[in-house]
């Protein structure tokens, strides 16, 4: 036990604290914004407080889900954390676990990213809870997220069902002052027991499990999981959950709407409490505020007086900012529109950091295989788009299967097959790239695969990969995995050695032309942000410079600026990677101290 005071915590830190406070003993995750800091915090607290819990980054969300679930089947409280698109990867075990049920409380934290700020979709995980027929809690603040963890464990154990907690970005990445309780050690007694009816049910039994599941959800819907605010006698009502509820509360106060609206705050949007459905029938108009899909709205059996996403009162895409909520409220109150919602200003275009090894690798790929097709993947390296070295990204691991598909389709067509070079990060390769690579080898699909190995999951803050050896874990060697997939041509290169990198990519391509099948180059150099390596030196512009600005344009390096007729090196930012030295057609740049 540590002495505790009120502290300003990030929503994700609050969730981590609550999971441990409520006695979770196995916690797993795969990093992804906005969920990453939950397990980061668990691991930090585990070390600080010397907790005997198992907390680990798994190879992907499906594996993370199953590890946590097994502890729940043994009787321990467990949690698995991921971002919304990670839940797509874990959907298979989720659907089935809803049928099998659980023993120890089991929470699935799926963090959504309306906007989206850092994702390929703005899907609503609550709809997947409805699809899987499991209950879902929808916190509006870090404090609520904390409280809901305890309620979710209780509900999970009472109904023997997985329970989802669905925070969104402005819960995960909001901070507020919170009062913490201590974390006490728990020693659950664990035993699987012989229960084939649940843990090993064949298809015929699954029908009965489905019926049980429906009964559970039906029973839960009878309970109350909402509170009433404002004026229940008003003619108009608002039903809100999640962050839009927080915006609504502020707006009601500043606009003086307390008397004019009945407000129903829903903690658990699925199953929607049946009692609420009855209450809503008495209002002349009902506005639904929920992020991002009409999950509560779809559960209301009457439609004529309901306003939300289905009748266009709320836009069907984008986040519910305070401005969007204000406009919807004005529509409900018949106060006329305020015009278009102004778009929040765009941030400047994201770029790879100075000294990023991906920049050098991308430049080498373009140099070695000009005019190629460049499928890429999910990670910092999607920013290779700016450099013209990325043509596509779809979802985790897809660079390899898309490269295979492009090759197989084009091979069968009349024209010549252009060079195909896929890029994928190390963590993403382990996550979902390995099965795709085995398939490509099996199909003899000819393309170059560059694995951009920076030794960590960099975009989300540098979480370890299966190749990391920290905490006594066995480091899985990437070269062995690649060869084990059946790849016959493999080279490992430091991308800062640009000529060697160019040569390696060319040789890999030649191999694919001569022998068929994929060839792999591992482009290996740690992320300078995460490895915190000192700078290797600073680039100087010499007299040979003609001011063509190729270095600025082709590298898009934040340390290079267009100066007066000559490039300007920002010495504070330059990390001395030396790529611009190779890029310069005049040989006018020099690396000092390199």
């Amino acid at each position: 036990m540590v002495g505790l005071k009120r502290r300003v915590l990030l929503g994700n830190e609050a969730i981590a604290w609550a999971l441990l406070q409520e006695g979770a003993t196995v916690l797993t995750s795969y990093p992804g914004t906005p969920a990453s800091e939950i397990l980061d915090t668990v691991i930090k607290l585990k070390a600080e407080l010397q907790l005997r819990v198992h907390a680990s980054w798994a190879i992907n969300e499906k594996v993370a889900f199953e590890i946590a679930l097994s502890n729940s089947w043994l009787g321990g409280r467990s949690a698995v954390m991921m971002k919304q698109v990670g839940l797509n990867v874990a959907l298979d075990p989720l659907m089935s676990a809803a049928y099998t049920g659980v023993k120890g409380g089991f929470i699935v934290v799926a963090a959504d990213d309306p906007g989206p700020y850092s994702s390929q979709t703005e899907q609503d995980s609550r709809l997947l809870a409805l699809f899987a027929k499991i209950p879902v809690f929808d916190p509006s603040t870090p404090q609520e997220a904390m409280e809901m963890v305890g309620r979710a464990f209780e509900l999970s154990e009472r109904f023997r069902i997985p329970v989802m907690l669905r925070p969104t970005s402005w819960v995960c990445h909001a901070r507020q002052g919170l009062q913490l309780r201590g974390i006490e050690a728990v020693e659950p007694s664990l035993s699987l027991g012989k229960d084939p009816y649940h843990w090993a049910a064949p298809p015929r039994q699954r029908f009965r499990l489905h019926r049980e599941l429906n009964q559970k959800i039906g029973e839960m819907a009878e309970g109350d999981s909402f509170s009433t605010l404002g004026n229940p006698e008003a003619e108009l009502a608002v039903v809100a959950s999640g962050v839009p509820f927080a915006h609504l509360r502020d707006l009601m106060r500043s606009l003086g709407l307390e008397d004019r609206l009945a407000v129903f705050k829903v903690d658990r949007p699925f199953p929607l409490p049946r009692g609420l459905q009855g209450l809503l029938r008495r209002y002349r108009g009902v506005l639904l505020l929920e992020e991002t899909y009409p999950v509560m709205e779809l559960q209301l059996p009457f439609r004529d007086r309901v306003h939300g996403r289905l009748d266009g009162t709320i836009p069907s895409e984008g986040e519910l900012t305070p401005e969007v909520v204000l406009r919807a409220l004005r529509k409900l109150l018949g106060e006329g529109p305020l015009g278009e919602v102004p778009r929040p200003p765009e941030g400047s275009r994201p770029r790879l950091c100075p000294g990023c090894p991906h920049r050098a690798a991308f430049w080498a790929i373009k140099e070695a295989l000009p005019g190629g097709i460049y499928p890429s993947d999910i990670g910092c390296y999607t920013l290779g788009l700016n450099l013209g070295a990325v043509d596509s990204f779809l979802c985790m691991g897809a660079s390899i299967s898309l490269a295979e598909g492009f090759y197989l389709s084009l091979k069968g067509s009349a024209g010549e097959v252009p060079p195909i070079c896929a890029t994928i990060g190390d963590s993403t390769f382990f996550h979902a790239g390995v099965p795709a690579l085995i398939d490509a080898v099996h199909q003899r699909a000819s393309f170059v695969l560059v694995i951009m190995d920076n030794g960590s999951t960099a975009m989300t803050g540098g979480q370890p990969t299966p190749a990391s050896a920290e905490d006594g874990k066995k480091a899985v060697e990437m070269e062995e995995v690649v060869r084990g997939c059946g790849v016959e041509h493999l080279q490992v290169v430091d991308p800062y050695d640009v000529p060697r990198m160019v040569k390696a990519v060319k040789e890999a391509y030649r191999f694919t032309q001569l022998h068929g099948g994929p060839a792999v180059v591992i482009s290996r150099r740690p992320c300078p942000l995460i490895a915190r390596e000192p700078s290797r030196g600073v680039v100087r512009v010499t007299e040979e410079c003609t001011g063509c600005m190729s270095c600025v344009e082709e590298t898009e390096c934040p340390a290079l600026e267009e100066g007066e007729g000559r490039p300007l090196v920002l010495e504070d930012l330059c990390r001395g990677c030396g790529l611009c030295v190779y890029v310069c057609p005049m040989g006018a740049l020099e690396l000092e101290g390199g």
């Binding site: 300003v8 850092s118 901070r175 507020q176 305070p322 929040p344 400047s348 994201p350």
Partner: protein, 193 residues
């Protein structure tokens, strides 16, 4: 303020300590007995160069986001970044900004020029503007990275929360070897008002 909630929009460029400045604010308001909510960006959004954090405090605060047109204090660690958030401001918004200029990519790539008339624009459109050579002051003290703390000193002078609370919360967020320098930076900021 005549309002229940005070809204501070903290903006700047990655690496300038925007998040640290907003953390110190949130800690201080909490210590002073207020309810506090704050938002910040992570992940891909963090790679964008422009960084923003919303800080809100009052007797009771629900949302972590400031509505457009509701910013009371715009706190910017870079001069051009002020312009990015104009829709969140009104003429009565108090603007506090460093005079330092950091070129965004479009300027680096020669697609646009760094605007030269920002000072006139701010003076013409806002009732209260504090432009402070925070980076210069911090450099003189020995570390340009303390510019955010100079600006915190300016803000602290305007908000009427006890100085000692600010200092306590500031030092709690910093390693010991940086305490002396940052206390000086904070003092310089207070003197600049």
């Amino acid at each position: 303020m005549g309002k229940d909630v005070t809204n501070i929009l903290v903006c700047g460029v990655g690496g300038q300590g925007v998040i640290l400045a907003s953390d110190v604010m949130a800690d201080t308001f909490l210590e002073a007995g207020y309810d506090v909510k704050k938002s910040e960006v992570h992940g891909m959004a963090q790679r964008g160069g422009a960084v923003v954090s919303h800080v809100r405090y009052g007797q009771k605060v629900y949302s972590p986001l400031i509505r457009m047109g509701e910013v009371d204090y715009l706190f910017s660690t870079e001069k051009l970044e002020v312009l990015r958030w104009m829709e969140y401001c009104t003429p009565s918004t108090v603007v506090i900004t460093d005079t330092v200029q950091i070129n965004p990519p479009a300027v680096n790539l020669g697609e646009m020029e760094y605007p030269t008339d920002i000072d006139d624009f701010l003076k013409g459109n806002f009732e209260k503007v504090y432009t402070v050579d925070a980076t210069e002051i911090a450099k003189e003290l020995g570390n340009a990275r303390a510019a955010n703390v100079v600006l915190l000193g300016v803000l602290s002078k305007l908000l009427g929360i006890e100085e000692a609370l600010w200092k306590k919360c500031l030092l709690e967020r910093l390693p010991k070897k940086l305490h002396e320098l940052n206390l000086q930076a904070f003092e310089k900021g207070r003197l600049a008002v």
